[in-house]
């Protein structure tokens, strides 16, 4: 009887094993000794896979790291000095005197990975797709600077709400919308090589913006057929499998997708049709995914199987930094960690003491940021006293309000002045953060500083990401841990957060003077004057203290000594196509 059971099990085992293993077995963690690989392969390891390669469908930095390899925008950023360099466009755009009309000239040798020329229409198509309500592109808001874009979005939303399949076919509605896009949205492909954009207001950073992943082109000929129309609702449906399938995805960057095994590995090969392929030094890039297992990633790195680990979580990073591991570099990023104060009149129906700027300032001044980065976060994070990280934007010096530094006595005096001497009568302060060990340590530390310095009780409230967002959105907090990475090199990528009605403005801060300065800056065509207005706006906001900046985010990465040309900067622009990997040297532990 046992023999029967064992036999059945063994048989089932054999069958399922064959089904379970793909053929040929993909080498994941075993060294790929038998696979023939070209010279110049960069292998990097991450703990979470790319979500999508749809440039208009993501806001994740992990995705953009790969999207920047497989697509190329009109302009690109030089990783060495963060200057703008030509991409598909031959050079910087012609800008009209009023700063609103940008004309890009495309190079005639730009090619898609199937050999087709990259045309102005491919950009226009991608951008129009990004502002189409049906496709709900996460980053549609970046296009609102273009004249007519926001209106077109709303127009389509209204059209769909009114859609009646009895009076109109989905195709008719779609055609009408396409006509509306052409007529009203100022994205114009004048000819194959000329793209003309008219902006709603002068937007000095528009040239920086076109380097961003969301503004990369689509190969219209193959992307357009992925759109189908739903007859009952009139909605257009996009088949996003296109962006996961190496056999279908056509891209225009230095690399093209060769293989993608979800949550295991992704292989990119040099794109032979890329216009600048003679300057591409890598033949292949492999992203290895080891989900949520950083120690294993580091082991593979030390074994010499991985060349680069672009991001290591806080806890392990601190240990690696202190262990002085070869190839461990810390890089300050264009992101900051800050605490947002709720400035609304009430919190959950109770009066909110934080409406008083003196209370907010007292809280800010009671935080010893230096102790925080030296004793808690421990990655050498630069302490931050402005909202725009120092050095993140060329030509912009953020205002630094010296008198808002760590000053326990002044903090106590301010709190007493606001009517809470020694914390008397102050309600329990609710400090909200999302689950993470390092964030918890920071929160506990800050809570202690507030308790010791100001004598107020603090309840730290820890929620997983979505619950945290939900509470933050509903204003159910006094203080909320927040973080922000800039998208493009301009102060507005941070400052717009504090504008009224910005969805990421958790504080409820709505200051007419700040908003006016932001509007003035948006209409200013003279770059130095504009930056000065932005500086004034930031200074005003910092004085009002709806937030307290804590520190600039620092990431630790491991780069094997055999890798050169990996220019790490504060931004996500790495120019991986210029990286060189020597094959001779052994593991970094040697």
């Amino acid at each position: 009887m046992v023999a029967i059971v064992v036999g059945v099990v063994a048989l089932a085992f054999a069958v399922v094993s064959i089904a379970g293993f793909e053929s040929p077995p993909p080498p994941l963690l075993q060294p790929d000794e038998h696979e023939e690989e070209p010279d110049g392969v960069l292998r990097f390891g991450v703990v979470a896979d790319v979500i999508t390669l749809n440039p208009q469908g993501t806001s994740s930095l992990t995705d953009f790291r790969v999207i920047n390899c497989v697509f190329e925008g009109l302009l690109a950023t030089d990783a060495r000095d963060l200057s703008l360099k030509p991409g598909v466009a031959v050079g910087l755009p012609d800008v009209s005197d009023d700063g609103r009309v940008y004309t890009f000239t495309l190079r005639d040798d730009a090619r898609w990975s199937n050999g087709d020329p990259v045309t102005a229409d491919d950009f226009a198509f991608a951008w129009r797709r990004a502002i189409t309500y049906d496709f709900a592109s996460v980053y549609s808001e970046l296009f609102w600077v273009i004249e007519g874009a926001l209106d077109a979005w709303s127009w389509r939303e209204q059209q769909l709400n009114d859609f009646d399949p009895d009076t109109q076919t989905a195709q008719e509605a779609w055609d009408a919308f396409q006509q509306h896009l052409t007529d009203t949205v100022a994205i114009e492909a004048a000819d194959d090589r000329t793209l003309r954009i008219t902006l709603a207001a002068p937007t000095a950073y528009f040239s920086e913006l076109v380097t961003f992943g969301t503004l990369m082109p689509n190969h219209r000929k193959t992307v357009e057929p992925c759109i189908t129309l739903d007859e009952s609702t009139g909605r257009a449906v996009f088949d996003s499998r296109y962006f996961t399938d190496p056999d279908r995805l056509i891209s225009n960057g230095p690399f093209a997708l060769r293989e993608w095994k979800l949550r295991r590995r992704m292989t990119l090969d040099a794109n032979p049709h890329y216009w600048d392929n003679t300057n591409v030094t890598l033949a292949r890039i492999i992203q290895v995914v080891i989900e949520d297992n950083e120690p294993l990633l580091v082991t593979r790195y030390l074994d010499g199987d991985l060349d680069w680990l672009p991001e290591i979580g806080q806890a392990l990073a601190v240990r690696l930094r202190e262990a002085d591991l070869p190839g461990a570099y810390t890089v300050p990023r264009a992101g900051l960690e800050y605490y947002a104060f709720n400035v609304r009149d009430t919190v959950d129906g109770q009066p909110n003491p934080l409406v008083d700027v003196r209370v907010r300032r007292a809280l800010a001044m009671a935080i010893d940021k230096r102790a925080l980065v030296e004793k808690v976060t421990r990655l050498g994070e630069p302490v931050q006293s402005s909202f725009v990280p120092v050095g993140a934007v060329r030509g912009y010096d953020p205002p630094v309000e010296e008198d808002l530094g760590h000053d326990p006595d002044a903090a106590r005096a301010l709190l007493a002045e606001a009517g809470y001497p020694g914390g008397d009568g102050f309600p329990t302060l609710r400090l909200l953060f999302n689950t993470s060990t390092s964030r918890e340590r920071v929160a506990v530390r800050v809570a202690n500083q507030w308790k010791e310095t100001l004598g107020i009780e603090v309840a730290t409230e820890n929620y997983e990401w979505r619950s945290y967002l939900d509470r933050r959105r509903k204003g159910q907090f006094h203080v909320a841990r927040s973080g922000w990475f800039g998208d493009y090199q301009d102060p507005t990528t941070w400052l717009m957060l504090m504008a009224e009605n910005n969805p990421n403005n958790a504080t409820g801060y709505a200051d007419p003077a700040f908003n006016q300065l932001m509007r003035d800056a948006a209409n200013e065509t003279d770059p130095p004057k504009r930056l000065d207005l932005l500086r004034q706006a930031e200074a005003k906001m910092l004085r009002d203290q709806p937030i307290v900046p804590l520190y600039q985010v620092v990431s630790l990465q491991l780069v094997a000594p055999r890798v050169s040309g990996l220019h790490n900067n504060a931004w996500n622009n790495l120019n991986l196509e210029r990286v060189v990997v020597r094959s001779d040297s052994g593991s970094p532990a040697d």
């Binding site: 994941l28 996460v138 295991r264 922000w484």
Partner: protein, 317 residues
Amino acid sequence: MLTLLLSRLIQLPVILAVIFLLTLTLVWVIPGSPLETEDARQVDPEVLEAMEAQYGLDASTPVFAWNYLVDVTTAFDFGPSLQYPGQTVRGILAKTLPVSMALGVGALAFGLLLGTTAGVLGALKPGSALEATSLTVALIGISLPSFVTGNILLAVFAGLTRRYLPDAEVLHLPLGGWGSPAAMVLPAVALGLAPAAYIARLIRLGLADVMSSDFVRTARAKGLTQHQALFGHALKVAFLPVLSFMGPAAASALTGSFVVEKVFNIPGLGQDFVNAVLNKDQFLLLAIVLVYSTLLILFNLVVDVAYAWLDPRIEVG
């Protein structure tokens, strides 16, 4: 027997429908939107609304539930993954379920073999060192959680052997991952040790009981040796409790162990399940719950049938 099969198969969709509704309700009460990915930014509310409309999530819960049920039953379409746009839930299941099943079958095979052997050996010589050893192994197997045994196995067979026995390549097992039979050995052992221990205990106790029962004494009196009585008659009866244990054990082993998959970095369904909960990826979550429930019900049915086959005294109906 036919009545049993029929009635169970009729119950199946009803049970599944109840499970589906319960899960859906639970998913619905979790706050936040599945479309807001971790540590990305908060999406513009207008855009978020459009995104929800894109997936039919803007409909009321009953409408959504009905549409989803229709898709699943008519087209076997579990919808898109909200976490990975461009991947369908069916595609994800097709990739990860076979991996988990292969691992689960390996673990069960290991568990059955080791458990039965240890149980029988222990029962053959009560009070001997053999019995003490098999009981000790069983105790360890039951007490140690799989992430501990998993990490110990990794340390020994992927770490120490490489360092101290550099020539014994057969003992150099992969650190993790999936793709070769060698990569399956350690996770299957880690996952199979606990069932092995249970099985050993069940068989050991069952045999002790059965060997002193009347029908075995009769068999022995008729001249059967102890071995003949044990393998010919007693084991069959002592195996019954193992069978009832195997139903749920098989369902849970086949649909993936999150912990073991995590420790060994295996791209299986268990990881998907936990990720789907964390990401509120409701299409994927509902699909996994349905797959798991179906397997659980089916395996219990198989166990009941096997019961009747092994022990004619049991009436199933």
